[in-house]
């Protein structure tokens, strides 16, 4: 059965473009143009994944509100935000809304499709209670990384990272001790139009999430003028 995906986007052209692209990938897509419509749609049936534009018409935070609404109904529902600004990344990062990812505009539809499939898969993996030790799980020092479930733990404590952050971290720890260039990290974000600053912002957010549970965390080193490096403690 096709997965049910909801798109909330106020611009009809973009909305139909997303719909077309996603439908082609074999998903059942419902699209809404405003928060109210979307809420009505959620009442009918909860989707398996939601793609939310943050600004809907005049409502600047409508995407976040919808996300909160969805997560109260289905806590593990994957959400993808469509953002416009870097500072919104911070905002999203601070929300800790659960399993989610985001994609800055202008959107690459390929990346979007990839994210959708990735998040759906993750949700499946996570919901699989009897899952055995996955082969995709990887341990580097105190860091535990589950590529399939997009789960990260530090000293056995789980850390919520967004899809983008997870991919960056995974790239960083692939060869511990080696510097990873900005370019590599940029590719890992699976976004178009990424600058060093975007990478720096993401890295800072990742660092903060680690420091929250371990104030002595210092594995992520800046390699000024080049990129980052993971150092084992």
């Amino acid at each position: 059965m096709a997965k049910n995906i909801v798109i909330v986007e106020d611009d009809p052209d973009q909305r139909s473009n997303y719909m077309d692209a996603i439908s082609k990938k074999g998903y059942a897509v419902r699209a809404f143009g405003s928060r109210e419509e979307a809420l009505g749609g959620f009442d009918e049936a909860l989707p398996d994944l939601a793609i939310l534009d943050i600004i809907l018409g005049e409502e600047v935070d409508a995407g976040f509100q919808l996300c909160r609404e969805l997560l109260t109904r289905a806590p593990n529902l994957p959400v993808i935000f469509l953002t416009e600004r870097i500072n919104e990344i911070d905002k999203i990062s601070g929300l800790r809304l659960g399993a989610w990812d985001y994609l800055p505009k202008p959107i690459s539809l390929d990346y979007l499709a990839e994210r959708i499939s990735s998040l759906l898969r993750i949700n499946e993996v996570r919901s699989d209670q009897d899952r055995k030790e996955s082969s995709s799980e990887k341990n580097i020092g105190f860091l535990a990384l589950d590529q399939d479930a997009l789960l990260v733990a530090w000293r056995d404590e789980r850390i919520d990272l967004s899809g983008t952050e997870f991919r960056m971290l995974a790239k960083l720890v692939r060869m511990p001790g080696h510097a990873v260039s900005y370019e590599t990290l940029m590719n890992a974000t699976m976004q178009s139009l990424v600058t060093n600053n975007t990478i720096n912002t993401h890295m800072r957010n990742i660092r903060k999430k680690f420091e929250k549970i371990d104030s002595k965390f210092s594995c992520i080193k800046s390699e000024y003028g080049f990129g980052y490096r993971w150092l084992d403690q």
């Binding site: 973009q14 473009n17 692209a21 539809l109 600058t195 390699e223 000024y224 003028g225 080049f226």
Partner: protein, 737 residues
């Protein structure tokens, strides 16, 4: 800045103080007015006195009979002058109470030497309707009257003969009683017996033997009305030496020996005239009637003596003294003429003769002209003399002089002057203080406003405040100014906010259609795999990406300051950061040679590391773009006392002066047309980041003009408070060294 010329005039306070100087016209005008007033008052008084004199003279006009009491020719007579006596005379034989002048006025009668028996000297005085007589008589033996004899001529006695009021001859004998009392008896024609038998009580006197026993003093008085209006009289001393035979041995009379007349003339003020004048006398004025022989015929009243008021406070006297000192100078300054000229000069100006004004007044008025003169009798006392001729049958028969003190006027003037001066000085002082205080406050307020207004915009022209706070509630023009400036700032701020938010709005507005475009292109490619390879699709995608990055860059630059605010700063050793950074530069810019020279000691600064990295990216990008091939790009870190300095130097084209000024401004690019992806945001970002860290940036040409150096100065950790001037000092040190 070009318009920062040296425009500096007098300050507000100076201007107001200078305007305050115009207040000096107040004492100036006051003084002129006072001088004019004094002139008017004196003129008024002169007029009044002249009128008085005229009035009095009118009384005498045609009354030459009053003066005709006197013979026209005085030389026919031996005049006996009677002194006007100042004080009350005690009839005691001593002439001490007659006053000092009297001692010289004795008239000698008798023998030429004046030492024979019966010689006498005579002093006449007049006071209170009495004629006072003091005689010094040479007489070896005084023979008193023997009351047993009825005859009165058989003892020493004095005969007075005169013309009575009724025109008949008057005879009075003064006899000496044993008690040294002098008694007067009206006599018969033979001078032997008393005509009435009774003494005339109106005649009183005493006798006083002289201490040398060679005579006696007689002092007596006779009522003037006894002598009649003409006051002719003769006096004879009859000397009797022998008590037994009582024969007259000698007599001395006042008549000249060759004289046909029987009488002497006693020159008195004409009683008739005096009576008239006395009725006219008024306080403070002296009225003199003078005949055409320049003799005083009547006098009434007295000039009020100078009133002495020294009981004033000492500081007032001090001011007075001081004022007296400056007055001549002040007078000349204000009126342009010397004080003496305007005060006393008028009298002498009449005929050019410096003369006693009183004499002049008499002379002129006897010439037939009424005149009023000022007469300065002493340093402090001044009189006005008004003289008006008395005319009878077209002939001047005398003059009336009214003399009055102008003390009052002068005192009034002086005190008014003092007051004016004092008030002027005080008010000038007060107004000056007030003006200066006002100006000071005004200047202070304006300065405050200026300071706040100029601090509302920083050196780069960015708005730092959206409104002013000082003077905003003031109700005056400065308040208006403050409000309007504040209003301006507010509007500017709105506009600025609009401008600042524009890139974001623009991004939002552009991103959506761009996204539509992008996704449409992607869908198109998906739908028609045959055109997926089309170069047009690829270029369309590139265009979309390009627009996206342009918008992204613009928005990032516009948001830079805002996002910098959110940055957390930590203390980082920039030496480590830079050495690692420069080492990595070689990797990211292959083929370019980078050289780094560190500070050899920790260069700790409170920074956000990846912002510094971003800053370096931009500076290095710039250096790479402009460097001459195969020349190294040198990065150097220097530590000064409070600041550290990162310099990035490359060989290549130098910067002109204008470019150096604007190179760190937003949207300024000097790369030319070939490099369209740069919007002049790179070095702007450098400046914003440096300034956010409390630092500064500068662009210099290398000393030998072979390239440029970009300097970034940042405060060392712990020295943020120490101001920018330190930084500029080090900058200077670098640029000159």
């Amino acid at each position: 800045m070009a318009f920062k010329l040296k425009i500096r005039g007098p300050r507000l306070g100076t201007k107001l103080a200078m305007m305050g100087l115009t207040l000096l016209v107040i004492p100036w005008f006051s003084y002129l007015q006072l001088v004019e007033m004094e002139r008017l008052l004196i003129q008024g008084q002169s007029q009044a006195q002249l009128l008085t004199a005229e009035g009095i003279s009118t009384l005498f006009n045609g009354r030459e009979d009053l003066f005709n009491d006197l013979p026209i020719n005085v030389e026919d007579f031996e005049p006996l002058y009677a002194l006007p006596l100042q004080s009350t005379i005690r009839l005691d034989g001593d002439a001490e109470d007659w006053g000092e002048d009297a001692q010289k006025s004795y008239l000698q009668f008798g023998s030429a030497l004046g030492n024979s028996d019966a010689d006498f000297s005579l002093l006449l005085g007049e006071r209170d309707e009495y004629l006072y007589v003091h005689m010094r008589v040479q007489d070896q033996s005084i023979v008193y009257r023997d009351s047993e004899y009825l005859r009165l001529d058989n003892a020493d006695h004095i005969r007075l003969n005169f013309i009575r009021t009724d025109g008949a001859d008057g005879r009075v004998t003064l006899v000496f009683q044993e008690s040294n009392v002098i008694t007067g008896f009206p006599m018969d024609e033979q001078w032997r017996y008393s005509a009435t038998g009774n003494a005339d009580n109106r005649i009183q006197g005493v006798l006083k033997p002289s201490p040398d026993a060679d005579g006696f003093f007689a002092e007596f008085r006779v009522p003037l009305d006894l002598l009649g209006s003409r006051t002719f009289f003769g006096m004879t001393f009859i000397d009797v030496d022998d008590v037994v035979d009582r024969e007259v041995v000698a007599s001395t009379q006042t008549l000249p020996p060759t004289e046909k007349q029987n009488f002497n003339l006693v020159v008195l003020r004409t009683p008739e005239v005096r009576k008239i004048v006395q009725g006219l006398g008024y306080a403070g004025a002296r009225i003199l009637v003078i005949d055409n022989q320049q003799r005083v015929r009547a006098e009434a009243g007295s000039v009020r003596p100078e009133s002495v008021s020294d009981a004033e406070q000492s500081w007032l006297t001090l001011i007075t003294v001081w004022f007296d000192d400056i007055r001549p100078w002040f007078h000349q300054l204000v009126t342009g003429e010397t004080l003496d000229q305007s005060l006393g000069g008028r009298a002498s100006a009449i005929d050019g003769v410096v003369d006693n004004p009183a004499d002049k007044a008499i002379t002129i008025s006897l010439g037939g002209e009424p005149i009023a003169l000022r007469n300065k009798v002493s340093e402090t006392q001044e009189l006005i003399l008004a003289a008006h001729p008395i005319i009878s049958s077209d002939e001047v028969i005398g003059t009336v002089i009214v003399e009055q003190n102008i003390d009052d006027i002068l005192r009034f003037q002086r005190s008014a002057l003092e007051q004016v001066l004092l008030l002027s000085v005080l008010s000038l002082f007060a107004i000056f203080i007030a003006l200066i205080a006002f100006a000071g406050r005004l200047a202070w307020r304006i300065r405050n406003l200026r300071r706040e207004a100029s601090s509302a915009i920083d050196a780069r022209g960015r708005l730092k405040k959206s409104q002013l706070f000082s003077e905003i509630r003031a109700g005056d023009e400065i308040g208006d100014l403050a409000r309007s400036v504040s209003n301006m700032l507010e509007k500017l701020n709105q506009h600025n906010t609009f401008l600042e938010s524009m890139p974001r709005t623009l991004r939002h507005e552009i991103n959506n259609p761009l996204n539509t475009l992008s996704t449409s292109l992607q869908n198109l490619a998906e739908e028609h795999p045959d055109i997926d390879q089309s170069k047009y699709l690829a270029s369309a995608q590139r265009g979309v990406n390009r627009i996206g990055s342009i918008v992204q860059n613009l928005a990032d630059a516009a948001n830079l300051e805002e996002s910098l605010e959110a940055e957390e700063l930590e203390i980082i050793d920039l030496d480590i950061l830079l050495s690692s950074y420069v080492a990595n530069c070689s990797l990211s810019h292959p083929g370019i040679n980078f050289a780094y020279r560190g500070s050899n000691k920790p260069a700790n600064a409170l920074v956000s590391d990846f912002r510094i990295e971003q800053l370096m990216d931009k500076v290095i990008d710039n250096a790479v773009d402009f460097h001459r091939r195969d020349t190294p790009i040198r990065v150097q870190l220097d530590c000064f006392r409070d600041t550290l300095q990162i310099s990035v130097a490359n060989r290549g084209p130098t910067l002109s002066k204008e470019v150096r000024k604007s190179v760190f401004d937003s949207m300024v690019s000097h790369r030319g047309q070939e490099n369209r992806l740069h919007f002049g945001l790179g070095l702007y970002v450098v400046r914003i980041i440096a300034e956010h860290h409390g630092g500064a940036v500068n662009a210099l040409n290398l000393q030998d003009d072979t390239g440029v150096a970009f300097l970034v100065q940042l405060p060392l950790a712990g020295s943020r408070e120490r101001g920018e001037d330190e930084m500029f000092r080090t900058e200077r040190a670098v640029s000159t060294g």
